[in-house]
Symmetry: D3
Subunit: 290 residues, 6 copies
């Protein structure tokens, strides 16, 4: 194609793409002039958090018990600066309150203050994954390799940010783990200690799910909604409790689907490939009929 | 190991690996001297396209309505240069026609000219995802987080390139989204407006599938082939229509499998975990027997 | 928040996170002062191996038959240096023997010596993927795009390292492919030539699985363990053969689950969505009852 | 050395280096908590300015007259964001006024508004370098290669920032050119149009120098101060006019030194290796006595 | 400043800077649509050449005699590809002949063919630097540290490209060394074997200089032109022999200036700080009168 | 040029360049298999040292008095690891003793232990530069901009490494500063506190120079050797004291040259452009005769 003709095409295409009417669905109009949360920036934040929470396994690998305080100090300070920027960018999406640097700073500091508890909780997840898998040879292998640990480290960070009222960003963080591991946990879900998922690909845990302690899932398990009540206009009503409750000690085998606001009682076992839409009493087993 | 011994091993291994007979299956012999499409290059192209199609959400996050024309201009020009190179490299794989820079340039310009329509169509997908999910809080959340948007942005680019006769590259682009999202859409499939997939992991949409407007799929759905007719030599016959047709308004719930050149009629609903190999009339519901 | 207050918080959080008691589950204590295997380093190693095994398709894309020896030489030497470092770091996790540079070097050299055989075997996998898929248009498309090739290239590397007694690292390498492709193959599994997996998302192949030649799986197939025998303390007994044996020529369609140390005989076909927990004789077909 | 002993040394050295008394000369105490100007950031700013002022020669080399507006738009916007941050950091060093983002923004916008005039002036310098050197073959060669153009592009940027009252940063920018070219021009010096320096290494132009139009210097020329008047405490009095005035059309050959607030009259020629400390009348020649 | 006002300023400044009349001196008009030589690209080329010519000292530092062929092969091939692109871009500046890829390729191949001779010649320069400096402890120190080696490696590459008729690029390459070392050698100068310069800062060697074998210069030496004959329009006549000839074995001490087409005879010694404008007979010494 | 012909040329050139006889002057033969010091690695080491010695001015610019210990800890640990590698590589060049990791580690630890004293000394240099220049406005400006500080930070590091017996590396480090600033200080020279150089381009300080406290030099000053005593074979005798001694408080103005093992007495002043080859008594002034 003659170069001159491409120049005309280029100008034409740019004109069309820069026409405001053309981008109204795909371009953020809330606060023109502010920047949007950056996917690259949030990815760095996840890496920093993992480096803080699992020293040596993520980030700088030469760390020792003598230098851990220096590295943690530098990483936490860096996290504070980067995360504050991203929270500020995310606050634009909260139409109810003003997006101020003061609010972003205060939220970020609260998040930083929760890091020790986050690490304690993730430590219980490491133990659960190790004890539940005969192929696991050490905690180190679990931390380095198991997708559940990556999914949970993102989920637990994101859940804290969700509790602190940060919009959008928690969801971006759990979707990063979804992409990395195939495990899709909504940041609003509630999950207890010693939680584990084996293999993990295809697991879905919906926004209003409540999961107790010592629960174990296998690959392909869905904790979903049965149907969405619609409002007068036929749109789904938002914010209703619509996902299952799994009490302490529940096990769900691969590819089973549990739908609706039902309760799977303490210690119940759901076999593989089962479709469950009603409460399951504590201590019972549900198997596929064949 | 003594260093000297490794030097001998190195030379021996290199000699074996550089022996032409040894690499005939794994090394491209069609046009020795030309370069192959580069995965890194194509990944940059996908990033550029996303930055053009969803300004601010992908790529540079500080963009405003005042600077969008500058950024779009630079990105489109850059896309034109990079994509032309890759198309030229890809044309090597088309044994039927010559791989010339003129042809690559012409194809690339046609693709560029389609960008505004691509964005319009992706805008309908954003709306469909937002309206279909009670957990979605804004278009921005959908664009930033939802795997379906990434899968569709790659698929819609790749489909255009496929229609323009570019070999190999469309498939590489949809496989990039497959890796990122767990959603595997063949670039040759035909998909209408307002299409969405919830969660998405494990979805497979085969090459000859035809999907209407306002269709919704859930995670784990397969639109596959039932069996392959074999030719006289026992090899699968290529190019036969072998995947389903989903008419407007169809919904398919999680983990269902629809196989063969069958038609799911307008507005039909396929429940979860169902195996469908025959036509489904418009407006009907198919549920798993239990 | 006032800056002064954040400084106090920072010091407090760092103090808590650097408290040895607090990180005992999440920080590697075996050989303080040694470095852990680096995820970035292992990712570079996988890229190098792929560039060596599939010249032009991965890594530098301008390679020709005239320059392949130079590129292979540089890449193999580089692989040798980087992999030796990582093996040395990984040997820390082997409590039975000392982690010496001599041992790491010797293992690495043995691995290098196996590269030509690895490439031969991967060549058979490319042929199997091409011949089994009517949508495949060339070996080049298979190598560039098909997730199974990435999963198998990582698995076959990792399996060699596993056979050479390297701890931890093989598992990290297969989990990298799991993240990239949704295909989860344990490095200890045994897999013959001409193996292929279509689409692949959700496939799980357990540690003691044995797979013959010319076997084909579809997406969502699990080769898993039925149940874990527990020891006197109620912990799973490690190292027992607990996954299936698939003999030559077996085909397993999508989303089927095969559990326990059972044998699927030569040429048997398992349909989609089937749950199999008992031996299947050679040449038979198992279909879902509907 | 035993690792344990290094850990003790490390802690000891860090303690000494983090002791406030120890770093009082080498660490900025003015506004603890604010960031200092970043050398990397300023280096990017110089690259951006050069890319704007000499399109195609610096920065992206594929630019055409059709795309220059897009590239200039993106670069100027980027310059605005980055330069505002650096000016804000630099304002800390101005003890007389508060360092506010508003002030930084206003200064930066004034600087941006001066870019067209800066480019006009640098255009005259390109012409002067081309016409004065029999070895120069094109304006393009002068812009790409001649150190004087780099020194003057930095000086002219820095001089604008100096006139706008920005502390510290102008000096950092001219010292970057000093490092790159061996030409040391103080940002406070005043220099007319069509100025050139041949070869350039070792040239020094002091802070209160005034240079007219069409002036040419050769390598090693110093425009310096003769002596510094001291105040009552024996310290040099700051801010006194102490460097030479060179009127229009003056030429100074290599390695000559001109010291003190003297005037070299219009069209005068100073030969090589000469030491001048008194006024030189217009139109005369000063040669080394031999 | 209000953001809205900056948007107006931005548009205004971009409009002025993109106005063709405004950039006619500073933007290359010869072949709009072609790219200009890239400074980054040429810098990579210099690094590649140095890595080829001084293996291990520049570029990859682990090279051994067993792997030198692999590294050299990869580097030379890479050099060929990158240099061809840059030569093609540079040929735009040659108004006398067409800039074709064929011509660029042919020139580049001739340059590649000269690399062994280039290395031989640079080897003599290393010996000269080592033998002439009592502080030098090894050839390795000379190659790693001495600015003269960097200046000569760039000059000798650039001189070959100059002889092959490449415009602009040779000058860019020698100016890179000028910036790095303070030594300014014009690529058209002719320099024999075993040449060295001590310290080097401030040395200038003009375009028509001719230097024999075994010549040594010290810092600050200028081999310059005395005056430029002007043509009828008062412009310097280009292309006249105007710089000195230094015969074999000449030594020139620091800061001396030798001007005009004069001959310094075989073995002559010029002392420091001397101004020479007339022939010096072979074997004589010229000292500063004091 | 036909591609086939280039392939032949490539093989031919590589063969010539990999011929051991051809690279004997330009390739390090001492300890084949060990790596040479890496210029990139040493450049990172210089950056780390500067970041440690001048916190905030070099390296991370957001540092505060609250986080300085964390950053210093991380930087010093990183310096220890990187510098040990480079020292080990450098020890190859010391033919008198074995290059062991133990020796490298011990030397590096001693160097680390000297950092507080190095910073104290550089603090005196900052004060000297500030007090001696009427244009200097703050210590911060001196640290950020003045080339003398960069030259001295490299020299003072390099001098410590020289005293610890490290070969080659000290010289590489001072030559990096030479390239950056035009100031060439041999690492073996001895320099007291409160030393400064104004402007700096072209300054040369030879290996056996001894400089007291409170000495000031201007640009272009050479402290050189007068002539080299030759041995019986006509080669310069290495290791003889051959450069000047400058006692406390000496000032040397621009472009003066001081040659040979002479003493410039306490408080003496040497004017500009002077050539000095004999002792100068304390307190006297030496001016150019005119």
């Amino acid at each position: 194609m003659a170069l001159g003709r491409f120049d005309d095409l280029l100008k034409q295409v740019v004109r069309e793409l820069a026409e405001p009417e053309s981008y109204k669905e795909v371009f953020h109009q809330l606060c023109d002039g502010e920047s949007l949360p950056s996917l690259t920036g949030l990815s760095e934040i996840v890496d920093l958090c993992r480096a803080i929470l699992f020293p040596g396994y993520f980030g700088y690998s030469h760390i020792t018990s003598h230098t851990i305080a220096y590295h943690t100090g530098v990483n936490v300070e860096c996290l504070y600066n980067k995360l504050t920027e991203q929270i500020l960018a995310g606050l634009c999406f909260d139409k109810a309150a003003e997006a101020t640097r003061e609010r972003a700073t205060a939220i970020c500091a609260q998040f930083i203050g929760r890091l020790p508890e986050l690490r304690r909780q993730l430590g219980t997840d490491v133990i659960a994954a190790y004890e539940g898998d005969p192929a696991a040879t050490s905690y180190g292998e679990v931390i380095s390799c198991y997708p559940v640990i990556r999914a949970l480290s993102n989920y637990r960070m994101a859940h804290e940010l969700h509790l602190l009222g940060v919009p959008l960003i928690p969801r971006i963080i759990t979707e990063m783990a979804h992409s990395e591991t195939g495990i899709d946990i909504h940041p609003a879900a509630t999950i207890g200690d010693y939680f584990t998922i084996d293999h993990g690909t295809g697991v879905v845990i919906g926004a209003t799910s409540i999961i107790g302690h010592h629960v174990k899932l296998y690959q392909g398990v869905t904790l979903g909604a049965k149907s969405f009540p619609l409002d007068a206009q036929g749109n789904p009503i938002k914010g209703i409790d619509r996902h299952p409750i799994l009490e302490d000690g529940v096990i769900v085998y691969s590819n089973s689907t549990i739908l609706g606001r039902i309760t799977i009682g303490r210690g119940a076992v759901i076999g593989g490939n089962v479709w469950v839409t009603e409460d399951v009493p504590a201590g019972t087993k549900v198997l596929q009929k064949r």
